[in-house]
């Protein structure tokens, strides 16, 4: 008897192991689909059902997801690179050469890290454009826009701190110039510059500080803020969408105001309750406590017609974006090598000494005036961006690209985008030795 139960335990072991990890089999019913979504740690971030409008590919273009996946790729490749990197002025550059010559896939990993970093700066900027042009920062999503701007700045700062680590000419002079720009901030500028560099000029202290910021402080802060950013998407009622996207789901003769202001909570009747809710025949919706959500954006009202189950619709879309992002980074890394210039020469800056492309707009402005170009105008731009959702209180045109009602706001933002891209193009292609104007042709 004991023998038999031992054998049966052994034969059932794989299945038992599997079921102890994954609570649900691959779903074949709507009940299964909803259970899979909220019993899995990684999936429960998503709602069980999403509005059809949310997964239209051309609405979001997956830009936020691309940014996030690039961040994940950066963490993985970054940790791998850390196994070989030493933040010392004596060794850092040699370690870069070692990556090329004596580390398996060393060049490739560095390429991936570099191109994913550039890609993330671009993706996070495009994501911001998407959110603006679709009016998605409007109430109740104001604070998530603010978090997004902070994440954008942190992305730039991560990239800036990473730039010093190879300890080549580009690294040294970009950071010398960048830290000097910080020094132009009123009152605390010099203090910030000194804290950042740990010395009066870029050297060993600065390298160590930038390393710690790059591999520990910034990724931690960003991970936390990304979590809040994602969490708020759900708490703010999912992705923005036009009113029509919800309209079809409302039972005739019943407006949003008709929904109970006080939650009408029935005792939770296990997940079967979800099933009964999904059935359109039920007149009065009663639901268990999955979460107490205030305001008119409870999902219950629009379950029947206009939404689809996250499994598989949303998850397949996300997987597709991930595969596409990874493929893009891999192809870039196979085709192009991350540049590495000569080792640091403190006496001779390269001529012209150019920052990475996304900072060239800033460098172009700085070449007119260090304070206004480097501190004044960027600070104003960031302040205005942060305040956008609190200044533009109109409720029209949410969830539509280039809505007619938002012509003024969109035009202003488009001007901002074009000016900044224009400055980057000038800085990249039209500036030669001594930052003199040259023609690229």
């Amino acid at each position: 008897m004991a023998k038999k139960s031992y054998f049966s335990a052994l034969t059932e072991l794989p299945a038992n192991l599997w079921h102890s990890i994954f609570r649900n089999p691959l779903p074949s019913s709507d009940l299964g689909r909803s259970q899979t979504s909220f019993t899995n740690f990684f999936l429960h971030i998503h709602p069980v059902k999403v509005n059809k409008h949310t997964i239209k590919p051309w609405f979001t273009m997956g830009l936020g997801l691309i940014t996030f996946f690039l961040f994940v790729i950066l963490i993985v490749t970054g940790v791998l690179l850390m196994f070989y990197y030493v933040p010392s002025t004596e060794q850092a550059y040699n370690r870069m050469l070692d990556l090329r010559s004596s580390v398996a896939f060393g060049t490739f990993l560095r390429n991936m890290h570099r191109w994913a970093a550039h890609g993330m700066v671009a993706a996070v900027f495009l994501h911001m454009c998407r959110v603006f042009f679709t009016g998605s920062y409007k109430k109740p999503r104001e604070f998530n826009w603010v978090l997004g701007i902070v994440l954008f700045l942190l992305t730039l700062f991560s990239s800036f701190t990473g730039y010093l680590l190879p300890w080549d000419q580009l690294a040294f002079w970009a950071i010398t110039v960048g830290a000097a720009i910080a020094g132009y901030a009123p009152l605390v500028g010099k203090e910030i510059q000194f804290l950042l560099l740990g010395d009066t000029s870029v050297g060993q202290e600065a390298l160590l500080r930038f390393y710690v910021l790059h591999i520990a402080v910034l990724p931690l802060v960003m991970t936390m803020l990304i979590a809040v950013h994602f969490w708020r998407i759900r708490k703010d009622g999912g992705l923005s969408r036009p009113e029509e996207a919800d309209a079809a789901s409302q039972p005739p003769g019943e407006s949003l105001e008709a929904w109970p202001t006080e939650l009408d909570v029935a005792p939770a009747q296990s997940a079967v309750a979800v099933q009964t809710v999904a059935a359109p025949a039920i007149e009065k919706k009663r639901y268990g406590i999955q979460g107490l959500v205030r305001g008119p954006f409870t999902k219950v009202g629009n379950v029947p017609e206009n939404s689809v189950f996250s499994w598989p619709n949303l998850f397949m879309a996300e997987l597709f974006v991930f595969v596409l992002t990874l493929a893009g980074v891999l192809v870039m890394s196979l085709l192009f090598n991350a540049p590495l210039e000569e080792p640091v020469n403190i006496a001779h800056p390269p001529n012209p000494a150019k920052a990475p492309w996304y900072f060239l707009g800033l460098q172009e402005m700085v070449s007119y005036s260090a304070f206004w170009g480097g501190v004044g105008i960027p600070t104003l731009e960031v302040l205005i961006l942060l305040l956008v959702p609190y200044l533009d209180r109109g409720t029209k045109g949410v969830g539509k690209w280039f809505a007619k009602e938002r012509l003024l706001a969109n035009t202003l933002f488009l001007t901002f985008v074009i000016v900044n891209i224009g400055l980057i193009i000038i800085g990249t292609f039209f500036r030669g030795p001594n930052w003199a104007f040259v023609s690229p042709w």
């Binding site: 110039v177 009066t200 050297g203 403190i346 006496a347 012209p352 260090a370 001594n434 930052w435």
Partner: protein
Amino acid sequence: MAVAKKAHTSEPEQTEGQITRRRMLNWLSSVGLFGSAIVSVFSNLVFIKPRATYGQPNRFSIGKPEDFPSGTRITLSEQNICVVREGEKLCAISTVCTHLGCIVSTSETGFACPCHGSRYDQDGNVTGGPAPKALPWYKVTLAPNGELEVDKGEEVAAGTYFNA
């Protein structure tokens, strides 16, 4: 909770605006606790601000006056200064661009910065570009051992020469 309520009702004279002992103690302890929390955040800032740096010392020797014959105009790349001597007059001009800290190179007309195109004349005065002020001149003295000493901690007005 119940105790608190009782204590409150036992003092019927008490009006809303007056400060009870309880409120006073609450207030003092919160200020104390949160205050020390904020102070401890500032202590982190103090912690990351180095008290000693490992870079170039401010004061350094550059050699004997004979090493710089009249007509010399030589850049010392490690110290980032340009030593100029004409006749008996000798001076040390910074080669760190006042705009954003790049190292200027000597050009025919004086100094030029490769980063953002600032230009200076032979004495370090700005002649073009975004540089906000002239290149500083540093104090040159003769140490007892007969070697010239430059002190980057002490700027002197342009045109103040050391008499070799």
